[in-house]
């Protein structure tokens, strides 16, 4: 809920009004400095996951649709980007486009099916469809089965920029991430985004006002899947592997967790959440199977104790929008 301020007695401070802009600048500054402080490869991976989580959050946070099968778009985009770059020799920009288009088509089909049911059924349908596509990935020849598609060439972007240079790749990934992030921000704050929020709050009322909510929901779904596809394709070029891990259900759960930890329905939450979860996974990798248990505990704790997530709680505490 936004606080209503009496314009005569209180003028909101400039800092509060511009909180999102300031947070954005802080994030950009941090991402520009970060590669000189820590491993660029890790950061690039984290940015891909952050974009993935932002795309997921567009659905749950702003339309109220819980997709439990977002690994489908991430993973299949990753496969197609990797395959087109390796087998067909596509340059990186075309490989990313191929992967993204795949995700968009998958999103259109799965979304059209899933929006036929509401609430909890929606989550189960998206999960089931993702599992179906997982089995296709297991059986299909081009995915390489258990081995996945390995040593994917990064190539030359637009034929000029050598992406095997880590710094160049970092800049490209950063640009892709920021573009995706701003695109999502734009969607949320457009008239289209306002209708999405109306559907989240009260779908019946939105219908009675004359909005074709199914069309809005499907569009949002396809947008979310497409952006997840951008993230997946980019990830395939960064880590140079596309594998079954990316299409399987734990990946769908992971992106839910990232968004939940950061804060569902906040703009910066998924970014912070994915960095937090990835750092945790790296630092605690030595614990083996206990990582799964810790993730489960975080899930339970988030749902019971702080449903707003890190950024949601911070925004509430500072009384600003983030």
């Amino acid at each position: 809920m936004e606080r209503v301020l009496d314009p005569l007695t209180r003028k909101p401070s400039v800092w509060r009004e511009r909180s999102e802009t300031i947070a954005f600048l802080v994030m950009v500054a941090a991402l520009v400095v970060a590669p000189f402080v820590t491993y660029p490869l890790f950061l690039m991976q984290a940015m891909c996951f952050a974009l993935f989580a932002c795309a997921f959050n567009l659905l749950i946070g702003y339309v109220g649709l819980l997709s439990f099968g977002h690994a489908l778009y991430f993973g299949w985009a990753s496969y197609l980007a990797a395959y087109s770059a390796k087998a067909w020799g596509f340059p990186p920009e075309l490989a990313i486009l191929t992967g993204t288009a795949t995700a968009a088509v998958c999103g259109l089909v799965a979304g059209a099916l899933a929006i036929r049911r509401q609430g909890i059924y929606f989550a189960m349908i998206t999960l089931a469809l993702a599992q179906m596509m997982y089995f296709f990935a297991v059986q299909a020849k081009f995915t390489g089965g258990e081995d996945g598609i390995q040593s994917v060439p990064r190539g030359y972007l637009f034929g000029v920029i050598n992406l095997h240079n880590e710094l160049a790749l970092y800049v490209v990934v950063l640009v892709i991430f920021l573009a995706g992030f701003l695109f999502i921000y734009r969607i949320i704050h457009s008239p289209f985004g306002e209708v999405l929020k109306a559907i989240r709050e009260n779908e019946t009322r939105a219908i009675s006002l004359g909005y074709k909510t199914e069309r809005y929901k499907l569009t949002a779904f396809v947008l979310s899947a497409t952006l997840a596809g951008v993230a997946g394709s980019t990830k395939a070029l960064v880590v140079q592997i596309a594998s079954l891990t990316d299409v399987n259900w734990p990946m769908s759960g992971e992106v839910v967790l990232m968004s939940l930890v950061g804060g569902l329905g906040t703009i910066f939450g998924p970014v912070v959440g994915s960095f937090v979860i990835l750092i945790m996974q790296y630092k605690l990798a030595f614990l083996g199977e206990w990582v799964l248990v810790i993730q489960g505990v975080i899930f339970v704790a988030c749902v019971l104790l702080f449903r707003r997530g890190l950024i949601g709680e911070l925004a509430r505490w500072l009384r600003i929008k983030l």
Binding site: A114, R116, Y121, G296
Partner: protein
Amino acid sequence: MVEIFGIPSAALFGQLLIGLINGSFYALLSLGLAVIFGMLNIINFAHGAQYMLGAVAAYLLLQSTGLGYWPALIIAPIVVGAAGILIERFFLQWLYKLDHLYGLLLTFGLALILEGVARHHFGSAGLPYTLPDSLRGGRNLGFMFLPNYRLWVIVASLTVCLGTWFVIERTKFGSYLRAATENPTLVRAFGINVPRMITLTYGFGVALAAFAGVMAAPIYNVSPNMGSELIIVVFAVVVIGGMGSILGAIVTGFGLGVIEGLTKVFFPEASNTVIFVIMALVLLVRPAGLFGRRA
């Protein structure tokens, strides 16, 4: 050898039998999901993990105390069901007033915890569970060989499913339960302890899952991820059948098991995905599910 549609009849009936076995598990699990959803308005994502716990409990009982299959079939559901009651009291009861999605997220977290702990203790590989002597062997029906244990699984799960249906649809307790599903406030006003009923319902649903787990232990190996693979298929079964009807859940469960078995004979590549494809088709033709009411 007799052939039907160019397939040896033994293979056909063999797969049909496997289909019925899988169908029994689909039916038991989707029944539990439907009962829990009816009362708690929560989709129990931990259902698969609780099914796995049932199998693990049977395995541990055999290893540590030497208690075999028959005692396990009683003890494991009680123990796991009791754990379910604790879960409901400690975690789930705080979520009833929130969006359904939080119930799904919390139980998903619980599933991760249970599976992680199991994997830590038993590794990812399956552990064999030996059959009780009384259920070894089988009978020759002329057209196929029918192992006794498989027959037992089908009969037992049918009995449990129909028993549950009878209790819910035909007894006084069941009518309280259905009334509380429709309007808990009114039922409470009549002096019935609805929160306790909710707790017991969850415990019962979880116990059903554990029961299925014990029955599955001798057929599939006991392994930590046996539940998570199954639960997603069961979700599809639930979407196809709709959770409004108990009998619907049972019929859909068995029916889809048989269809899956037949697919294994005629088009083996699609056997993993056939249920999901059927789900997609049902969503196109009857979005509310075969037995569901339009919400």
